[in-house]
């Protein structure tokens, strides 16, 4: 047998979040400092497959990526068909903190992208000493919608096609075609209305520019990383967020879009390794 298996282990378990049970799918690889990875709105943890397979990272970090409830191979809750999915700040915080507690992760680094990049700042604001550091990829404390969310969930427009077509604007033209289209493929596979429900948090419930200045970066270092071609969490919005979060470290990723870990993994690694080294050695 000449199969070269990837070093990723996938597992399912039941996670209790405020009395609701979710069957959660997670993947992990490596050992050392826990590094919890949070995917973007409307996608799933497959976005982090390159990190999970990168020995330069997994030799020092236990990389863990999970599908949020309603996403990827994680289930929605029982009786999901009787509710409309709508993610809120509190609900998102509860999922992540319940996940960290369930796995007994001690002072993990949490790295989230897009909506994940926003929630890590909320978590740092709430309980900074619980985390070793936060990495907010494409995450800002103040964003502005530029299209109507109702297009994402209606019977006369294909949800998967429109989701991919919307987010294709956020990928850098320089990113390799293979990874551009793999990133879009994830968006074509979301459940009906899930991207829309995530964007409720991302665009409508998540702004916290009035509070972000209270984050204590001496207790929890914050790294803000934004792609040059991100038209949602633009570099300007990232730098404005960094102005408000005193002590945070903004990093502009040139030639990159909104999905660094999946649209251009090789380029992202060049930006991420120094950050991870600083966290590990700090």
């Amino acid at each position: 047998m000449n199969i070269e298996f990837e070093p990723i282990t996938g597992k399912y378990f039941t996670l209790d979040v405020d009395g609701t049970s979710y069957r959660i799918y997670m993947e992990e690889s490596g050992s050392g400092i826990p590094l919890v990875c949070l995917h973007t709105a409307g996608s799933d943890a497959r976005q982090f497959r390159h990190l999970l397979c990168d020995h330069d990272i997994t030799s020092r970090f236990r990389v863990i990526a999970f599908d949020m409830p309603w996403h990827g191979k994680s289930n929605p809750p029982e009786n999901f068909h009787t509710t409309e999915y709508k993610l809120t700040v509190d609900a998102y915080k509860n999922v992540v903190t319940s996940f960290v507690s369930a796995l007994d992760l001690e002072k993990p680094v949490v790295m989230g992208c897009s909506m994940g990049g926003r929630i890590v700042c909320h978590l740092a604001l709430e309980n900074p000493s619980k985390y070793r550091a936060m990495i907010a990829l494409e995450g800002a404390d103040n964003l502005s919608p530029y299209y109507d969310l109702d297009w994402l969930h209606r019977p006369d427009v294909h949800g998967g096609e429109i989701q991919a077509a919307f987010v294709s604007s956020q990928i850098a033209p320089q990113s390799p075609s293979q990874f551009r289209h793999e990133t879009l493929w994830h968006y074509m596979q979301g459940g009906p209305g899930i991207f829309k429900g995530d964007l409720y948090f991302y665009w409508l419930d998540g702004d916290f520019d009035k509070a972000s200045g209270k984050i204590d970066t001496s207790l929890c270092p914050i790294y803000l990383m934004s792609g040059e071609y991100d038209c949602s969490c633009t570099p300007e919005r990232m730098f404005a967020t960094a102005e408000r979060i005193k002590g945070s470290k903004p990093i502009l990723m040139e030639g990159m879009g909104h999905f660094p870990m999946s649209e251009n993994p090789a380029l992202f690694k060049q930006y991420l390794i120094p950050v991870l080294s600083e966290i590990a050695d700090g």
Partner: protein, 122 residues
């Protein structure tokens, strides 16, 4: 500033069988505004069958996508700079306007993005 020559857009689009296949359900005329000039682009089963400059207000497309000449010039560069690389990135920046019946646009959004970008420098 000179306007753009869109006369080769149809041949570029129609020579791409994958793009034509993706647009096989598209039968309509839409308006592409380039600066002060509106073009009516007619599509049948994914192929461009006619491009005409709009002379009469009573002739109109089902929806319109309009931007200034400098914006389209940047959009149609081989490797566009940020904010100009995609119609929706231009929308986020306020560089493009979209009006009319948006249903067929949204039903075929990637098709229309790719169709318009066929005017990009090779």
């Amino acid at each position: 500033m000179r306007n753009f020559d869109l006369t080769k857009l149809d041949s570029h689009v129609n020579a791409d069988p994958v793009l034509v296949h993706r647009g096989r359900w598209v039968d309509l005329t839409f308006t592409l505004g380039v600066g002060e000039t509106d073009y009516l682009i007619t599509i049948n089963q994914g192929k461009i069958t006619k491009i005409t400059e709009r002379k009469l207000q009573t002739k109109s497309g089902q929806f319109s996508i309009r931007a200034g000449v400098p914006s389209w010039r940047k959009h149609w560069q081989k490797t566009p700079q940020r904010d100009y690389h995609d119609i929706f990135a231009m929308l986020a920046k306020g560089l493009v306007t979209i009006d009319g019946d948006l249903v067929p646009l949204m039903q075929n959004l990637q098709y229309f993005k790719d169709l318009i970008s066929k005017n990009r420098e090779s």
